[in-house]
Amino acid sequence: MNKIMLNKHNIGSSDFINSADNLKASGKYLLGIAASDERTLNSKFNVKYFFGGGGGIEEYCVDADESFQSMSKICPAAKMYEREIYDLFGLLPSGHPDLRPLMLYPENWDSSVHPLRKDYNNLIPDMKKYGEYKFKEILGEGIFEVLVGPVHAGIIEPGHFRFSLAGEPVLQLEIRHFWKHRGIEKVCEGKDFKETLDIISKISGDNNVNIAIGYLEAAESILNIQITERAEYIRVILAELERIWNYVRDVAWIFMDIGFALPAQNLFALQEEFMRLNKNLSGHRFLFNSLTVGGVNLDLDSAKLKAIQEAVEKVENIIKDCEEFILNSSTVLDRLEFTGKINHKTAEELSLCGISARASGLPRDSRIEFPYLIYDKLNLKPVLHDGGDVFARTVLRIKEIYVSKKIIEGLLFNLPEGDIAVACGNKPEAYKYAIGNSETSRGNAFFYIMADDNGKIFRLKYIDPSFRIWPSIQYGVLGNIIADFPLINKSLNLSYSGNDM
């Protein structure tokens, strides 16, 4: 059951904007903005702002007709959320500095059609050009542009990057994402909670367990389900396993991008061993479908527990060598240190989360700030670094692997007895809503879910950590050379599919 303290405030749009300065000054930071079309209920749209930073989560609910006041100038992190709302709901964030379409491309979408409105008639505009997307331009003598993507050279997801350069250093980077926009939030509407779980697993496949945990926190709180302690333990073990293999892969890619194929391939082999462990545990290499509403789908017997123990011991041994190598090799340090620096102030203004925030000295870890499952009993401390560069993010990943290993070992042989799942026949209260969150290997995954009067999803808003963090690369690369961009990108290792949704 959800343990987050949610303080709700109903407030007028202009009052809210006036108080936003004070909110920021008191150390609160924006977790996300969720709009919802509730005209069928109370003839209003509403926009909910969620803030973290004070122990619990503060919710500010603002009514909106066809527009609401933009808070982008006070809180730059709000910029992307407001553009998203303008696209999908057609609500105008008045005073917003940049209202270019975000996910509904003018190249193929009629801007008067807003698919997340409840009166959207499911008519899909013809596939033709409706307008043009204008990129920012830097003009001047000797300035040139380098265009990359959407289809990249390697086996990666699509995204468009536009660099403006004068000589070697990057003057500006503009990212255009949402090539993979699948309209997941709309797809979930009208589905029941179990069907939605299947869709949620496909938001970002490599983090599906942790994302599903965030979803289940909200869903089980709406359905009033208390899962068993054994199921909570198993969820945490699976979540930490997923975190470990993600971090192993991330560190491997760092080595790959600085031309150290030997350690990289060793870590890739280690990742493969974890994928095989996953397969052994759940029958699926990514642990798809191992969680369910009301518990988990797999039990851990003594053979499986032993396999997990051996795997985490092995990973610690290899990662220890790896850490020593990074810290003692001048060629590695030369590439990693001072590259892609994201300042503390930038991280704060953009409301970063996860490794990217912790590497810039911000103690943000949802497992500690908004504890869920049994994380509040684990006495975790945020692992921090103040470098803000590629080196800081790499070292933090390594340190977090040790933390995850310790968590898993602490739980493995203390698994409480009990069922792994409870029945969930409860019908949710009509139009009840809840929030849920979890810490993925990239950062905080945040869900806002409202049920309708049939026990189906009325509105589901998901905020991926990548959605928050992507804009920060545009600051991280400034002054760096373009050849370091892949390294900076990999050091954040963000999801395109989670961002684009």
């Binding site: 596939m127 289809v151 050279a153 086996i155 997801e157 993979k180 697993s201 938001i203 684009d500």
Partner: protein, 171 residues
Amino acid sequence: MSFLSKLLFKNKTQEIGAAGIGSILIKGEELKRSINGVFGRSLFVRLVDSGSCNACENELAALSNPYYDLERFGIKFVASPKHADVLIITGCVTRNMLNPMLKTYENIPSPKFVITAGDCPETGGPFKDSYSVCGPVSKYLNVALHINGCPPEPETIISGFLKFMDMLKAS
């Protein structure tokens, strides 16, 4: 330098090879013979992700790890479509990715083949009714082979390539 020297003196890939992945070696060798027989050179592959959940990309990337090391069997993922023989498509084909996908296809010199990997490009997966999805791939391109799975495991993808080569030999 302990990490590097440990790796150099204790060759991990050999250890991995000995740990029993016979079926991959057998399939791989067969694949290599087959590719050499039909193409007389390696098979070059270009990937386009048209809207996947990134699990398929993870599995395709895993084909390069020391357990599979697909390049030794004569299959190489290339950076440019101009170098490719085969286009692998993953994902459910979003409206935004339709054009880049078709442009990539146009830029592959003939003869060219399309292979789809994962359940999404074949059916659209759970997203088939979405406003921003316009798949499946077969609506736009001639698909030579489909590799099933959500996502297909690396060994399944290798078997898929084998099947593809058999199809070419038969035609």
